[in-house]
Symmetry: D2
Subunit: 132 residues, 4 copies
């Protein structure tokens, strides 16, 4: 997954690039999938599709998506399903760009009433995030 030909378009350092790529991926997940039909019957296949769709994009080392079963139950309607809303999503993403690893997150933050996307950790070096 090289981007030698793309790199000349960028004016930023590797950490900023990693942050930019993380933002793209979280914006993508949110705006591609919010609104999708979801119930307890298809929630697993939707989680899996979002995760795998994220991982095919450049510089994604890992992606984990959890959709709240509890919020699906609360929003259930006459027809026994609902549509994916921002407050249901919890996404953890690790971007690797060259020597930089960056961990980002999308989750509903109740005190802000907002599905916050944020950077939990950035570091350089070969150490992996999450302990190895």
């Amino acid at each position: 997954m090289e981007d030698d030909r793309a790199r000349k378009y960028f004016s930023c350092n590797d950490r900023e690039r990693a942050a930019f790529e993380a933002g793209i991926k979280l914006g993508t997940i949110y705006h591609q999938f919010v609104g999708a039909p979801v119930s307890l019957r298809n929630v697993e296949s939707l989680e899996k599709a979002i995760e795998e769709g994220c991982r095919v994009q450049p510089f994604v080392e890992s992606c984990t998506v959890k959709i709240s079963r509890e919020k699906i139950r609360e929003k259930r309607n006459e027809y026994n399903y609902t549509t994916l809303s921002p407050s249901m999503l919890d996404v953890e993403l690790i971007i690797r760009y060259r020597e930089v690893r960056l961990k980002a997150r999308l989750k509903w933050v109740e005190e802000l009433r907002y599905p916050l996307m944020f950077i939990e950790e950035v570091f350089e070096g070969t150490r992996r995030i999450d302990g190895d």
Copy 2:
């Protein structure tokens, strides 16, 4: 999957209702998922998520989604993936509304240069479509 409380809002017969429901589902698939990241690595999970997301909606008896591997290969870019485009989709849908069954389709029609959504068959009675 009843809709006794919803039915009073409708002024149409059961065949028209089935046609309306089919249109909704195909419009949903197209506009929810076009643009999603796709490559040969995640195409199966994306197909499955679209199918299952369709089936949780009311009056869907079955839904089959095929995404063209050939067109994914043609569109592959620098980063070895692409995004779902209308011409990649082939969807078959069977709606059942009370005594009516209706088969609808979304597929790229080259002579129109258009991802056509159309009704292949409508009939009433207990016979199932596709032979049983």
Copy 3:
């Protein structure tokens, strides 16, 4: 806006076709635009874009979109905007297919806890809907 070359793909009458086309358009609006960033500052341009995007599609005679300012205010967050949710939308659509006119609607129905899409009226003839 003819569809002589498309018509051969369809097995249904003109009323069913009109119902199908209405369903497509409402599914399109919902799944294309739910999730879009919205506040009191951009609500008008979003309404206009949804309406005009609907009208460029085949067989649409008119389309009116209202997004609830009240619900935007209720959902406002830390950052003073929110994203378009299904309960904010009220859409009125008139489809004309040959001699058939059909009026369809998308609006939040509180008793169903559901953004119901429904057919309000179908008729044949040259009379316009809404009185002229």
Copy 4:
């Protein structure tokens, strides 16, 4: 547009934060609006809605969206419209986060066959980008 309460969630410097926010906004534009119906008749209202929808989000100083009329013409079908595709978009975005300004871009890069999102410039201080 403060985010004092949000800031504690972030572990990064202001330049990285600006890059992250730029990525979010470009991912949002792409995945919210690709697939929307577009023709020469509604292209202006779609551009305006995308721009204004971007500007209501936090830390956006300016956003300019151009949709290629030429590519709309090329893709026109039987029904005289098409849907927004990635190659039609040219977006310029300026993010301001505290003392950092960052200019980002989304445009089709023919040599990569890819709608590249990239960072054109980052700097700190009170000077505005684009010369004033």
